[in-house]
């Protein structure tokens, strides 16, 4: 069965210190440090587009002499809503930049914060149904291209990053059953309109998260026949510390099992879960990991990963 074999990541090296901006945004330093929980947001160089971030994540994947592990790639998928161009698909540009053969399948998935979880299932199913053997699932959503740096609702939260997940028939983590939800009636709570910056209604997103994420997590647990106490790690989309802490409390999870790890680079949208997951990929103490992405759509996706 196709699953997760390895993960490469890229966090844009330049950062903006959010705490230093507290006065300018009319908030306290403790509000940024303790509530938002993000003291720096990563920022890509202006010329770097999504495909360049993907290539940087790929370079991390193959660093350390594991180039052979990615020979024979037959599929590239890029999950992004901020691709290099409106068309063509960014996955084709990445296929070209990596020098992958023309026999390689490639398509994009246009989802935001729930995108990684959705894409894992889509990629797994596509590869299995088409007899593909080695795929690269990228996430890259450079929100610095669409946010207003003077908008405290977004400028203090979102960072630029990317990930690539190597998916093969010899996985480290298998992908279990997914649980999904869509609340399209709230689609304008997080929206990028034509010729406008990203707009986020923080209160609406918080209410959505608290009301609708817990049932999907519970559905995922039920679908996979596992009790919450037997899950080693809950990796939520790293929206903000306030959201993750409140979800943890509301669902009744052990805070030790519900980390918030994006303090130094920010919320990287669809990359937040795979970037966090990389920290635990090689640690066999974590045998079961529930992942849950939620946001743009408004959309929720959760799945259970098991160590093979």
């Amino acid at each position: 069965m196709i699953g997760i074999t390895n993960i490469g990541i890229h966090i844009a090296p330049e950062t903006v210190n959010t705490v230093e901006q507290a006065d300018a945004f009319g908030v306290s330093r403790s509000f940024i440090e303790e509530k938002i929980g993000i003291t720096a947001v990563s920022r890509k160089k202006g010329a770097m587009r999504a495909s360049a971030l993907c290539v940087a994540a790929y370079q991390d994947l193959v660093s350390g002499g594991s180039e052979a592990a990615v020979e024979g790639i037959d599929f590239v998928c890029v999950c992004t809503q901020n691709g290099d161009y409106r068309l063509p698909q960014t996955s084709a540009i990445v296929q070209h930049k990596l020098g992958l053969p023309s026999t390689c399948a490639a398509f994009d998935i246009a989802l935001g914060c729930s995108g990684y979880v959705y894409a894992l299932h889509v990629v797994m199913s596509f590869m299995e149904s088409c007899g593909l053997h080695k795929g690269l699932l990228f996430t890259a959503d450079p929100y610095s291209e669409i946010i207003d740096p003077k908008d405290k609702n977004t400028a203090l939260i979102f960072g630029d990053g990317a990930s690539v997940t190597l998916m093969t028939e010899d996985p480290v983590l298998s992908i279990g059953k997914g649980a999904f939800a869509t609340h399209g009636d709230m689609h304008d709570s997080l929206i990028k309109r034509e010729n406008k910056s990203l707009s986020m209604n923080g209160r609406s997103i918080f209410n959505f998260s608290m009301l609708h994420v817990p049932p999907v997590v519970n559905d995922c647990l039920t679908a996979n026949g596992i009790k919450r106490e037997n899950v080693d790690l809950f990796l939520f989309h790293q929206a903000s510390r306030y959201v993750v802490d409140n979800l943890c409390q509301r669902i009744g999870l052990d805070p030790q099992k519900t980390p918030f790890v994006v303090k130094n680079y920010g919320n990287t949208v669809s990359s937040s879960i795979p970037i966090a997951l990389k920290n635990y990929l090689k640690d066999s103490a974590f045998r079961t990991v529930l992942i849950c992405g939620f946001g743009v759509g408004l959309s929720i996706a959760s799945s259970l990963l098991r160590r093979t």
Binding site: F31, K35, I36, G202, R203, F206, N207, M210, N246
Partner: protein, 83 residues
Amino acid sequence: MQKVTHDDIAEIVRQQKIRLDWDNFDIKTNLTDLGADSLDIIGILFAIQEKYQIKIADESIAAGNWRSIAQMVDQINAILQAK
């Protein structure tokens, strides 16, 4: 229908575990003046919505109708009465 009281809402605020200046607490004082931040207010309003099964409109918040406990009580009772 029994009206919502100031004590009811004060209890909701207390349950949010916000570091408020309770020594200078007054039901007519804006919660932000007592130390609550914007996320604290979001949490309080969410708890109110859930407890009383009401919807609080963004416009009403923007109009400054939910800043103090006294205002919150008035707004909630008005919404419940109109139900």
